[in-house]
Structure formats: C-alpha cells, structure tokens
Subunit: 168 residues, 2 copies
Amino acid sequence: MRSNLWPIGFLLGLSAAAPIYGESDVPPAPNGIELPAGYKNWRVIGISHRTDNQSLRVILGNDRAIEAARAGDTNPWPKGTVLAKIVLKDAKHAAWPAATVPGKFVHAEFMIKDPEKYEDTGGWGYARWVGEDQIPYGKSEHFDQECFGCHTPRKENDYVFTQPIPFP
Amino acid sequence: MRSNLWPIGFLLGLSAAAPIYGESDVPPAPNGIELPAGYKNWRVIGISHRTDNQSLRVILGNDRAIEAARAGDTNPWPKGTVLAKIVLKDAKHAAWPAATVPGKFVHAEFMIKDPEKYEDTGGWGYARWVGEDQIPYGKSEHFDQECFGCHTPRKENDYVFTQPIPFP
C-alpha cells in the first residue's frame, strides 16, 4: 500500500527522505490507508469542543490543507489535502475549574482528499487510529462507510465539519 | 528593541533571514515586546475551553517550546521558550449544535521565557495583541503585572496553565 501512496508525497513536494505515510510500528487502517507520519508536526486549522461526547478536538492540516485554509479555498478542498483530527477526553483544569483541558488521548482520525481514488466516499479517504496504542479502527475495509455516513450531511461543505480559525 | 531580541533568534538556531520578532505593520507591546512573526505556523501544544468567559483556546509553541513539551521538560520551561495562546469567542456549529467552534478572533497572547531579562515577572515576558487589527494590549509598560498576577497562582508550575496534549 505504501508504494501506491508515494506519488501523493511527491505531488506535495516532499522529499523521498520524508515519506508522509507510514509510522513504522503502526498497522494500516482496514481500507489500506497508513497513518500519516509526522502529523503531530502539522499546523493548526481549527479546534472544537463537543459537549455531546465530552471531547476537545484540534484539527491539523498538511501543507496543502494549510495553504487552502488560509486562502479560503476550502470548498472543495484541493486534491492532496490531509486533515488530522486529534480527539481528547474532557478533563477539568485543577487550578481553573471553569476550563476544560485535554484528558486522555481518544484517537487521531484523518480525511485524505483524492476525488478519483476515493470516489466512493465523496472524494475523501477516511481512517482512524484509536488510543495511545494507535490501534486501527474498523472491522472490515468498508468501515469508512460509517465515517462517510456521518459526514454526508456536510456534503455542501465538501463533507467537512471543521471551520478554519479566523487568524488575523 | 528588535535588535535586543536578535540574540534569542540566534540561540534558537533560526537564520538571520527569518527573524522571529516583529511583524512589519504591528506595533510592539507597551513593554517593548514585539509580535513574534510567523506564530500562526508554530506547532500545537494544547487546547482549552473556558466556560467562564466563553472562549476556545489553542496554545502553540516555538521550536524550543515544542521540544520541551514533548520531552516533558516543562517545569521550568527552558530559556528561549515562547508560548502563543490564540483566543476565540465561542460559536455554535451550525450543523452540530453540541459543538462549540471558533467564532470571532479575540486576541493572541504570548509568554517568552528569559529568567534574567524578565526576572521581575517570574522569568516570563508577557504581551498580547487584541482583535483582528492586533492592537497592543496595555496602557503602560507595567501592564504585564496584570498578566503576572493572574499567572502567579501557577508558580509551582513555572507560571503556566497550559497542559500539553498527551500525543502518542
């Protein structure tokens, strides 16, 4: 699978020495998508707090995504965009009870834009790795239909919930 | 003022072509601190949601800060650390009412670690720029006593409220 994804790395202008897919010891998702290496170093696009499942989220993007977000060019997002959502369980700040801060790491999930490759799921490839052990989510290769289903109400926004931070 | 801060840039291993202080059209804070250039491109350290003033926050750090956060070396944070807190007014997600997402940009505020230079305020220099127009906060050079006062209850944590995200 990794070799199939190399062309995306080159499209994004990354060198062969820095593959964007594949963390050595983390298995791929059941649909073949590999954990994007170095996603923790990506820049921030958005944040959110969901009170329905008590979680804080920070949404990071690869260079293509950041460029698009800052240019307001996000409907549709360009091919090569990768969005990473990091989800953390709510915790209360010990010294500031009115502040919700990151507790346990819940999961990291990704949307990878490639209209041809991921035509069956709205042009986005979906994958998620759960917990500190980064266990791939999903029991079969079709697990991503669940992701796609939840994102379908946002079809008019290229299936994306995230609203980029309005930086000055 | 800018020339006084250049040595910090060199300590951080940044090239002379990429000054970390000074955005051309933004005035410095009343205590002389200049807006760290390019802070929007820094990596993420933490997030929080304050229900007492209805705001979401994302905390970014310069390279020195990120290194320290990932190594768990944050009490004290090393000299040269710069923390940037971006504060956004709460908004409700139009398509997901239980999600709080970034509304209006409130301000960006900074803590700059230099135990000698900022001895009077616990080893940290403080500055804030308000709103989309990035207006420097504070009426006199002593405005930072207000920042210091609010951070003093966290003295045992090197005056920092932010709890780094527990990335896998």
